[in-house]
């Protein structure tokens, strides 16, 4: 059962081949069999079994949706009413969310069965899942390697078939990079496409939730449920949601693919480069036209991001003050001591680093030099994307410069860790959608192909990804020990 896609499982549930209760139980058993990956922070066994029974009743009544009865797991950044929501932090270790995130509510309404909450880098700040208070997640393809981050638990759980699909969030690559390193399909939608309501904020002008799944088709089914206007998110965009599944089978002859020369420079490992070239060749065989493009301001994406994201994070995380919810230090002597020690003891090192950076960039005398400058650079980067996407339909390239790196390898060198996000960060600054799909293996470890599209062209991205998955089987590979 655990190797089937959402569409196949939906069919099985309807034909009576298995019930949602059996399906859910089988995934709960798999989660228990593989604790070594450390994917889950919380497993919601009892509520899951209840939800599965309700789904079976709904299926029997004939008013089920495609996701009814399908097991899913939520990144622990999404608030889940009555269930611990930690954001990977000691700060929220005791936080039982009083309401559901819009995304959680939508999946619940569709009848999907939540198995639990997935591990992640603390407050989504990290590229390796090592900054989590709950410990590192391991990559199912090689237990000595990181799964990527920040949605590392989501990627590892989907790759190891410890859930059918999972949610993720992407501020600078946090869906696409772990998807690439774990060999699954991940989509960061256009900024504003998926509601941020109840999704714990890191950098509000960059954060976006999205699907992490085994295939483009599964991602399309998930996005159908996640996407759409939400008046509770002030930056949600009020545009109609297309039928993503219906667009999957469109032919892609004549598709214009742009390859930015900045993506194929010295930083890219040669094995990675040749896998990306082979994937692009596959598209050429499907009738696509390849065009070399240039995006000269891409190189400034990392510096601009590491001003803007920490600045927004320092403001967003000021709400964690030990007063209304979350961690409070013992015996504070006065109010300043309460704030300072609660935050000092509740946050981990990477979160502190970014709060300090953001506070500095926003402080008097530095605001123009750093924050305004970065926002201007952001405009120029976004214009690079607009110009490129007026000439080509999509942009392709790598997701990461190398395959999954070793646990412990980069954690003490934050700058090196930041630089590894070169291929993903600019996309968030521009706000365009992008996907990572499995495109091969280098020394036994997965490699992702990135497909970047125009604003609100998620349907096109999913279509292009799906067509590739019809002629390749990289997305069907399962790590050893998890078959």
């Amino acid at each position: 059962m655990h190797t089937k896609t959402i569409a196949e499982l939906a069919k099985g549930l309807r034909s009576g081949e298995f019930s949602s209760l059996e399906l859910t139980q089988s995934f709960l058993n798999r989660i228990k069999q593989h604790p070594q990956l450390n994917c889950y922070i919380t497993v919601t066994e009892e509520p899951a079994l209840q939800a599965a029974k309700a789904a079976d009743a709904r299926l029997a009544q004939g008013n089920a949706e495609l996701l009814t009865g399908i097991p899913i797991a939520q990144k622990d950044i999404f608030c889940t009413e009555g269930v611990k929501t930690t954001c990977g932090s000691k700060m929220l270790d005791n936080f039982i969310a009083p309401y559901n995130a819009a995304t959680v509510e939508k999946f619940n309404k569709a009848g999907a069965v939540m198995l639990g909450k997935l591990n992640m880098d603390e407050f989504a700040m990290g590229s390796s899942n090592e900054t989590s208070y709950y410990g590192a997640v391991k990559n199912p393809w090689d237990m000595t390697k990181v799964p990527g981050g920040s949605s590392g638990g989501s990627a590892a759980a989907v790759a190891a078939r410890l859930t059918v699909c999972a949610t993720g969030t992407d501020t600078g690559g946090s869906i696409r990079q772990p998807a690439a390193l774990c060999g699954i399909t991940g989509l960061k939608p256009t900024y504003g496409r998926v509601s941020r309501y109840g999704m714990i904020a890191y950098a509000s002008s960059l954060d976006q939730g999205g699907p992490m799944a085994r295939s483009a088709e599964d991602a399309a089914i998930m996005l159908q449920t996640m996407a759409g206007f939400d008046e509770k998110d002030s930056t949600s965009v009020d545009l109609p949601v297309p039928d993503y599944r219906q667009e999957l089978n469109n032919r892609i002859e004549g598709l214009k693919i742009g390859l930015p020369k900045e993506f194929f420079s010295e930083g890219l490992n040669s094995d990675m480069a040749s896998i990306i070239e082979t994937a692009v060749d596959e598209y050429r065989k499907l009738g696509a036209q390849i065009i070399e493009i240039s995006m000269p301001n891409l190189k400034l994406a990392i510096p601009a991001y590491y001003v803007i994201a920490p600045a927004e994070c320092s403001a967003n995380l000021s709400r964690f003050d030990g007063v209304r919810f979350g961690y409070r230090c013992e015996n504070p002597v006065d109010l300043t001591d309460l704030y300072t020690r609660s935050r000092g003891e509740g946050f981990g090192k990477e979160v502190k680093r970014r709060i300090l950076m953001g506070t500095y960039a926003l402080s008097a005398g530095y605001y123009d030099a750093y924050y305004i400058k970065a926002q201007k650079v952001r405009r120029l980067i976004s214009e690079d994307f607009k110009n490129a996407l007026s000439r080509v339909d999509v942009i392709m390239g790598p997701v990461t410069p190398t395959t999954a790196f070793g646990i412990g390898e980069k954690i003490d060198n934050p700058i090196e860790m930041y630089l590894s996000d070169f291929y993903t960060i600019a996309i968030n600054l521009a706000g365009v959608p992008a996907m990572s799909i499995p495109a091969g293996f280098a020394q036994g470890k997965p490699v992702g192909l990135q497909i970047i599209g125009n604003y609100f062209a998620e349907d096109r991205l999913l279509n292009i990804a799906h067509q590739y998955q019809q002629v390749t089987d990289w997305h069907l590979q399962i790590p050893k020990g998890f078959e």
Partner: protein, 95 residues
């Protein structure tokens, strides 16, 4: 080095963020590394460029000024560290 240990202490105070003394030099080094990365932006001429705060350049949406939330005080205070009579408690501020 862009930042000294004293400057890091000052920033930490502004952020009301407790940082252990033995970690201060490490943060000074890391933040200096980040600021060094940021000097690259200085090479790009951005005169006359409008700063970009939001990918869609959307204006903040307005809504009718009516009550939409119900009273959730009990629910929200149930997860607070310390409350009394419907109020959040903190150490004494005014003597």
């Amino acid at each position: 080095m862009f930042l000294t240990a004293d400057e890091v202490k000052k920033i930490a105070h502004l952020a009301r963020l407790g940082v252990n003394d033995q970690d201060i030099d490490g943060y000074a080094k890391d933040l200096s590394g980040m600021l060094n990365l940021m000097t690259q932006m200085g090479d790009l001429n951005t005169d006359g460029i409008n700063p970009m705060a939001h990918p869609m350049d959307q204006a903040q949406r307005l809504r009718a000024d009516v009550v939409t939330e119900c009273d959730n005080r009990e629910k929200f205070q149930a997860i607070a560290p310390q409350v009394e009579a419907g109020l959040y408690l903190v150490p004494k501020v005014i003597e």
